[in-house]
Amino acid sequence: MITTILSDDVINSTELRNNQKRWLEKAYVSPISIISGAKKLVLLNREHAKHMYSLIHYAEMIIRYCEERDSGKKGESDVFPWIKHLSGKAIEEFHKELFFTFQKAVDSKDWLTFEEMLNSWIATADAMTNPEMVELITADLAKEEFTRVE
């Protein structure tokens, strides 16, 4: 089976110098490899590079988390140490959302939503360390008294 991972034009540094505008315009759409002696470099759109780096960063994170889960560690994690403050049910919810949102980010290249999801879970775990917040889970807020503030 042959899988093409990178499809690019390959040029040398002289060609880049001679037709700079053309290659820069082309690199905006698809990668251009530049051979300069023994050095091999790539020119590519910064947004594409950002997507690739984000994907690698979060994929590595998720793989390490999966390895932790497979090794039987439940309710604790070195990758996401804050999950120890979540209930078992919440951890399963986080696990599902982690994969769902990751897949969406891979497809849409929108990593902001993925980061927001992680930050919301971190904030939740943080809030769960406060006894006042834990009490709220079982409290009937309809019966609580609130003071009106304008």
């Binding site: 930050n119 889970i137 003071t147 503030v149």
Partner: protein, 78 residues
């Protein structure tokens, strides 16, 4: 709770002024807050959190039907 709310208003008057306007206009629109307001998840899924500062938080729920915001936690971290 009310005392702690007022203490936040005294300490962070500009931020709290912005936050009160946010609550009046669109308390669930977390996307426009640059990460300062988050919707919590799991067991706290109906609660929103505003990070007033690195150490202070306001957490609230929104009763959309009655157009009421109920602050359930103010000041202090976590």
């Amino acid at each position: 709770m009310l005392e702690r709310w007022h203490a936040l208003e005294d300490e962070y008057s500009e931020d709290m002024h912005w936050f009160k306007n946010f609550l009046k206009q669109h308390p669930t629109n977390t996307h426009i807050t640059n990460g300062k307001v988050k919707k919590l998840k799991g067991d706290l899924k109906n609660i929103y959190q505003y990070d007033v500062s690195y150490k202070d938080r306001v957490r609230y729920i929104v009763d959309k039907g009655n157009r009421i915001v109920k602050v359930v936690f103010a000041k202090g971290h976590p």
